[in-house]
């Protein structure tokens, strides 16, 4: 297939795809994330129970149940998804009753039925069914006879372990030492000196933790406390007494500090009941109060009848002379999530054979209509298999979301425009084609967002803006290569084909690394970062298509038109700027500069530390903006009046909250408290109100996932670099990455900027993106190694750097443009993100030139082959110094055309470009003619040389070309000259010709 036909085909496909993308964009709606349209996001962390571990299966079951619960709330387009190893993210857009949503969605709703008296444990650690002071007698399960939690824990501690058959977490490896992350009993933290519980948030009572380590999360140890972690063995649990009711039957204390120690032997659980629904107690002797009715499954019916019969029989046995019927009656208790709801007695005179379960049963006791409805709904959806702890809650108002969307779009537009302007100004016609490629990229990408569909979030927009830079970078790398080829003497047509062919490997390497980092980020990072990672990954792939294939076809189609026939149209006229700087010689100074920066950064970390945001510290942050002028003092006074005297109130002004904005920080608050604050601030006429509450474990989860993502990224990147280059190339890359990350951390410490989850995402992005420049440099080093068989490695690197520095600077600048647009126009969240990216990208460009390359040079120079070359060069040099650049005797740069691979590569693809050698320029043609004449006359010929860079100390060339005259130590190992993806050289005389070789 001819090039023209191939280009036409590609352009046709591109046009078809544009048409399809346009239809998709028109037909499909864009899904906006909560941060762009308002709503509530709840992040839960799964905790194991004795019955279930936190794994994929239990999390997925929990998600199914949570989805049913959210459906019952009537929330439109909710999103519930797994995040990381054990988190579930629930996004509820435009939800009205936030408090109810939070209460219901993550509630375990583990319903359990107990035969009460035989299971209650007495002071001696054994069941005491006849002791009314232990069981509560007629007030079974009431708060009057229970023990304070501290004493109940001490009583429960005495019990030996009793393992149940259905407890799955007691499988192999689960021991009292909690081996293998399993659950063996439950843990409590007590203060023996003051005989009190030590609970998170300073509460008087708290449920158990699943292991000893979890006990210390979020607790404050009082001064002088004698702290002890107590394990209650499996088979014994503490159950909280029923809510305390007044004589009128009104609940006066829902969480009394009154507990019973019972054997963990429920006879039935939530899975044994059917059709729970809210009703009223209207049966015989009923009081008309709300209750929950339900039926039983087949197994449930049988067990219920058996147990109630057993309870009735026990009541009859207890009916001794002098004992009233009420005192003799035994009880059937119902518990929900560790608290008794009710403990009705079984009338043995009325039900001597147990209660007929065919009509179901009911749970009553202190319900309102609402709470009975909630319980019925929870029972309908079933119990969650694991416990869920709410670790983060954020609420964004719809207006604030809209504002954020506008800011993000403005940043996107500005970023796009400045990149376009730069491309056109720098590359003229090529730049116009690149802009066309960017536009096509934008259309494809937007269509993909709608088609997949991707929920567009603020970090997602940041990823999109960054990929504009990535897309433009690919064009820059190729365009610089095209210009090089044309300046090297190729025709425009040949230069374009060769430029794309030779630039492609570097682009693929750089983009693969970025894509891999995005993939790891998506797989391991928290939900907020996932949106960014997804857009970055998809954008990188799409940009490969548009920036390489589409622009190549467009340029190829235009190649023979008047538009690009002259090199000046492509910005390739003249010699272009050549760098002659001794990069390796100056590396000492740059190394020292980096050392000083890191030293300052390390001292700043020690002196100032890092300013961690609430994502890491936990707490509640409220952002609000008022219509009228309000002082900090007024807001602080109102907070004190609302019961939050320690709240930090700061004036806070930005485009989102307006001129009268405030940021209020407190300890972590429940939604009801946040609602109280919102109501309390109404007097100041708020126009915006958003809040974020982060639990103590969320920051640890974020940090842990970030560390795993960093390690995984480093491993994958190292493996890829080792495969594509050489393993020795991957070590400098890792050192450079470390340099970039630590410098960014140092700058954050020095400037005191807040470290948020967005910062972590940006740091991880730096991992992938800062390699872009390094790969461009290393790619050229790889290419130059076989071309310079007599040069020291430092000369090869110097030459490579001089060749790619312009494009390296151009790609960095081009990436910084959209990042700066984010920084100036992107709103608060995106500004955080952009700041870290800006430091990282700048540091990445610097480290690729001044850290990675010198480290590689120093390391490679230790190899025998380069050691021998350097020794020879030092001997040959008058001053004993190795020149910065390798030159021939004529002063031209040393350059040997490597041998072509044996056999022609078969063009199996329709879209494959023609071999560059098939199209030759006028110069090349004349050169070939000269070759033929030379062979005919037998005379030597000076190489066709382009202008050589001025060299400080031209290298004498006593042994110009003949293999016999070459230093035998110069090329000891072919592996050093030819890297893995290069063909093995044939043993023949190197030709000092530069057909198509740019310099």
């Amino acid at each position: 297939m001819t090039d023209r036909r191939r280009n036409s085909m590609i352009l046709l496909v591109v046009a078809l795809l544009i048409g399809l993308a346009t239809v998709t964009i028109i037909a499909k709606k864009t899904r906006l994330g909560l941060d762009l349209k308002g709503g509530v996001q709840l992040v839960y962390e799964g905790r194991p129970t004795a019955q279930a571990k936190v794994d994929g299966e239990s999390l997925n079951r929990a998600i199914d149940i949570m989805r049913k619960r959210v459906d019952q709330l009537g929330v439109a387009s909710p999103e519930i998804q797994r995040s990381g190893e054990k988190e579930i993210v629930v996004q509820l857009p435009e939800v009205t009753n936030i408090e109810k949503a939070e209460r219901q969605v993550g509630k375990t709703a583990q319903l359990q039925f107990y035969d009460w008296e035989p299971n209650v444990i007495g002071p001696d650690g054994q069941p005491a069914p006849t002791e009314s002071t232990v069981t509560g007698g007629r007030e079974a399960g009431g708060s009057l006879f229970g023990l304070p939690e501290y004493k109940a824990v001490l009583r429960a501690e005495k019990r030996p372990a009793e393992l149940r058959k259905d407890d799955t977490t007691w499988e192999k490896g689960c021991t009292p030492a909690q081996a293998g992350g399993c659950v063996y009993g439950s843990w409590y933290l007590i203060d023996e000196k003051n005989e009190k519980m030590i609970c998170p948030g300073g509460k008087a009572t708290c449920g158990p933790a699943e292991n000893e380590k979890a006990l210390y999360s979020g607790v404050h140890i009082p001064t002088g406390a004698k702290v002890r972690a107590v394990r209650v063995n499996p088979g014994t649990v503490l159950i909280q007494a029923r809510p305390t009711e007044s004589s009128q039957g009104k609940v006066v204390n829902r969480n009394p500090n009154s507990y019973y120690v019972i054997k963990d032997a429920p006879v039935l659980n939530g899975g044994d009941i059917t059709h729970p629904q809210q009703g009223f107690d209207e049966g015989a002797g009923g009081n008309g109060q709300p209750n929950v009715n339900f039926g039983f499954t087949g197994h449930g019916k049988k067990v219920f009848e058996e147990v109630t019969k057993k309870i009735a029989e026990r009541g009859q046995e207890a009916q001794l002379p002098g004992v009233t019927k009420e005192a003799a009656q035994q009880h059937f208790a119902v518990g929900l999530d560790g608290q008794l709801i009710t403990a009705p007695s079984i009338d043995y005179t009325r039900y001597p054979e147990g209660i007929d379960s065919s009509n179901g049963s009911e749970i009553s006791g202190g319900f309102t209509i609402g709470s009975a409805q909630e319980l019925a709904e929870e029972l309908q959806t079933g119990a969650l298999p694991i416990k869920l702890n709410l670790i983060s809650r954020s609420q964004v108002s719809a207006t604030l979301g809209k504002q954020a969307l506008n800011e993000g779009l403005v940043a996107l537009l500005v970023g796009f425009l400045v990149v376009c302007l730069f491309l056109v100004a720098f590359y003229r016609v090529l730049g116009l084609i690149a802009v066309g490629g960017l536009l096509i990229y934008g259309v494809y990408f937007f269509a993909l967002i709608k088609l997949i569909p991707i929920t567009l979030t603020l970090p997602g927009i940041a990823g999109l803006i960054l990929t504009i830079g990535v897309c433009a970078d690919a064009n820059i790398v190729i365009f610089e290569r095209v210009k090089e080829e044309i300046r090297g003497g190729r025709s425009v047509v040949s230069g374009i084909a060769t430029g794309y062919k030779r630039g492609f490997a570097a682009i693929v390497d750089a983009n693969v690394v970025t894509f891999m980092t995005a993939f790891i980020l998506f797989a391991l990072a928290t939900a907020e970062v996932k949106g960014f990672a997804f857009t970055l990954g998809i954008g990188t792939l799409v940009s490969l298509f548009t920036a390489v294939l589409a622009t190549q076809a467009a340029l190829g189609a235009m190649a023979r038109t008047k538009l690009v026939t002259h090199p000046s149209a492509l910005g390739a006229s003249g010699e272009g700027h050549r760098w002659t700087f001794d990069f390796m010689g100056a590396s000492r100074w740059f190394f020292s500069f980096s050392g000083v920066i890191l030293l300052i950064g390390a001292l700043a970390i020690g002196g100032k530390g890092l300013n961690f945001g609430i994502d890491f510290k936990s707490g509640t942050r409220i952002e609000t903006g008022f219509v009228r002028h309000v002082t900090e003092g007024q807001v602080a006074d109102e907070m004190t009046a609302l019961g939050f005297p320690n709240a930090e109130v700061q004036k806070y002004t930005n485009a989102s909250v307006g001129k009268n904005g405030f940021q209020i920080s407190t300890k972590t608050l429940k939604p009801s408290k946040v609602n109280d604050i919102e109501k309390g601030l109404q007097q100041f006429q708020p126009q915006h109100f958003s809040s974020t509450s982060i639990g103590p474990t969320f920051g640890k989860t974020v940090a842990k996932s970030a560390i795993i993502a960093i390690i995984a990224s480093l491993l994958v990147i190292s493996a890829y670099i080792a495969l594509r280059f050489q393993w020795k190339y991957s070590v400098p890359v890792l050192i450079a990455l470390m340099h970039d990350l630590l410098i960014t951390a140092g700058v954050y410490s020095l400037t005191g900027r807040e470290v948020t989850t967005a910062t972590v995402a940006a740091l991880l992005t730096i991992l992938g993106y800062s390699l872009y420049d390094t790969i461009i440099v290393f790619d050229r080093v790889r290419e130059n190694v076989p071309r310079m068989p007599r040069a020291a490695f430092s000369q090869i690197v110097n030459r490579s750097m001089s060749e790619v520095l312009t494009r390296s600077l151009a790609t960095t600048f081009c990436t910084l443009l959209p990042v700066l647009a984010l920084l100036f126009f992107g709103g608060e969240t995106l500004k955080d993100f952009a700041f870290a990216l800006m430091i990282g990208v700048a540091s990445g460009a610097y480290s690729s030139i001044f850290i990675a390359s010198p480290v590689l040079t120093h390391w490679k120079e230790r190899e025998p082959v380069y050691r021998a070359r350097r020794a020879r060069l030092e001997r040959e040099s008058p001053g004993g110094l190795v020149p910065a650049y390798a030159t021939t005797a004529t002063g031209a740069p040393e350059d040997v055309e490597p041998d072509a691979p044996k056999g022609r590569r078969r063009r199996g693809r329709l879209t494959a470009p023609e071999e560059p050698g098939q199209q030759i320029s006028r110069d090349e043609f004349q050169e070939l003619v000269a070759d033929i004449q030379e062979e005919e006359t037998g005379k030597g010929r000076a190489p066709v040389a382009t202008k050589a860079p001025p060299e400080p100390e031209p290298e004498p060339d006593p042994e110009p070309e003949a293999p016999a005259e070459r230093d035998p130590s110069a090329d000891l190992t072919p592996e050093d000259l030819v890297l893995k993806d290069k063909p093995k050289p044939r043993q023949k005389r190197p030709r000092n010709k530069r057909h198509g070789r740019s310099r």
Binding site: M584, S587, R588, F591, S592, S594, G595, V596, I597, L598, L599, G601, A602, L603, I605, G606, G607, G609, L610, F612, V731, I735, M738, H739, L742, A745, G746, S794, P854, V855, T857, H858, W859, E861, R862, P864, R867, R870, A871, E874, V882
Partner: protein, 100 residues
């Protein structure tokens, strides 16, 4: 936080080895590893001895003094790698460096 500071300090000091002749075992990369391992290990030892408890300094426990614990570690780490390199050169297991 303490480890972050120690790593930064170790990396910062390593940058100045570029001025030394490359006698390090493993070259500049060997010096890098020596500096990092040394700064973390010695930092940990000094902190643990002062605190009478084997622990990594957290955010509150990290100050400039704690960060400086890494300095002797980095120097010792790189010194060990340097001495090993010199010894290997003497025994012929490692070639003496050429100046870049």
């Amino acid at each position: 936080m303490g480890v972050l500071g120690w790593v930064m300090m170790g990396l910062a000091i390593w940058h100045f080895t570029i001025w030394l002749p490359d006698h390090f075992w493993g070259g500049i990369v060997g010096a890098f590893l020596g500096s990092l391992v040394g700064s973390i290990v010695v930092g940990l030892i000094i902190f643990s001895v002062k605190d009478s408890n084997l622990a990594i300094p957290g955010e509150k426990a990290t100050d400039i003094g704690v960060i400086l614990y890494a300095v002797p570690g980095a120097i010792i780490g790189m010194g060990i790698v340097y001495l090993i390199g010199m010894r290997r050169e003497k025994t012929g297991h490692q070639a003496a460096p050429e100046h870049i």
